[in-house]
Symmetry: C2
Subunit: 235 residues, 2 copies
């Protein structure tokens, strides 16, 4: 994964801050045991349910995600009928184009947010809030990964349902999202796609799964797992 | 700190892997409360004692350290009469030169390891083990920070005393070092320099401090602090 990120950096997909963010994620992944935990699996199932029930679900893609698992992003979009939009915290047009190309190369269709990122999310700076009218701006559900806390809060204020994939269960994004999958994106995307495959065409089941989802409870469980692992590792 | 690292990256001091490593450190710093903890303060004092009692103590400098706090490195070298050597895991001559220059600009004198990194540490690859005959290769004590586990073990096999500054108390380097300061380098260097200032000319005191040092105990204490903070943060 480190090599893919560093390659992504040299290819112009990932910025320096993105590499540092990857390191922070790595530390939490290590503390979680570098596996999909029980609460992460449950959250992935709830995420699939929410995606199935959404009218217009969009995957928000940043440089790290495009460098790490573009095919898995395209795979979920295909499986679930989701739109894919490039959405960057440190936006440059060059980087947006490079990410769009990487996604298309990996099989994503009609990638938004490259040339059409013209609408602003209220409450964010002009560059940090740029989104596509056809995509995130009019979506009812946005799937973000490794997302900044301010941006997650701004999406919530717009009334959107937010699914976050984030390895740090204490991050603001993790706390503010409706559904938080505390897992590595490389594992979470195929997992959510698999759950969508099983749940497609079963809206009643999806509604039951969603009604039973307890995000705070799952975040607490992730923290307990980290504490347990610290105890094991320290022996 | 992030900005200094990213600047160091653009100036050719820091490599992509160094940025990722910084992120890992950040996560642990966050879990430790971004402060010098009690065990870190005790370890810094023991580090000062070991440095005072050493015949030839050397500070090993990598790109991250040179980008984050070159003046603090030069300050400790001056205060404690330590040598400074550029020593890189991902070595290129260009990067070694850039780091040497940054250290000299910050006040470090006679920086080793740029043109004279000709001796190999046994058991490491030729590039990863290159050291100066006048410096690390003949040192009795090496102060490393954010160091790779293999390299720390190789230094130990050569019979050297190793002081490690590392924010991850579970890292192999942290476990293998004689004295582990679980703290951010930007706080640890001035702290150790201050302890050296107070302890200089008092070898009997330094011996007592060193005799009372319990590295495993302090590492366990750092882990306990992380667990406590996870509990506080999860409320």
């Amino acid at each position: 994964m480190r090599e893919r990120l560093v390659k992504g950096f040299h290819d112009g997909l990932v910025c320096g801050e993105g590499l540092i963010a990857q390191g922070r994620g790595e530390a939490f992944d290590y503390l979680l045991g570098e596996r999909t935990t029980r609460p992460a699996g449950k959250a992935a199932k709830a995420a699939a349910a929410a995606i199935i029930l959404a009218k217009k679900p969009v995957i928000s893609v940043n440089g790290n995600l495009a460098a790490l698992c573009p095919a898995e992003v395209a795979g979920l979009a295909e499986e679930a009928g989701m739109l894919v939009e490039v959405n960057l915290f440190y936006r440059t047009e060059k980087r947006a184009r490079a990410i769009g190309k990487a996604l298309e190369k990996a099989g994503a269709k009609n990638v938004l947010g490259v040339k059409d990122a013209e609408k602003n999310i209220p409450g964010l700076g002009s560059e940090r809030g740029r989104t596509s009218k056809q995509g995130i701006h009019s979506a009812d559900l946005v799937l973000v990964s490794m997302e900044d806390g301010d941006r997650t809060e701004a999406l919530k204020r717009m009334g959107k349902k937010v699914i976050a994939i984030d390895l740090n269960p204490l991050a603001r994004t993790s706390k503010k999202a409706d559904i938080t999958v505390v897992d590595n994106v490389t594992r979470a995307f195929p997992r959510i796609a698999g759950e969508v495959r099983k749940m497609k065409g079963k809206p009643a089941l999806a509604r039951r799964v969603l009604a039973g989802h307890d995000n705070k409870g799952l975040l607490r469980e992730s923290l307990r797992l980290i504490k347990k692992r610290l105890e094991t590792l320290s022996k």
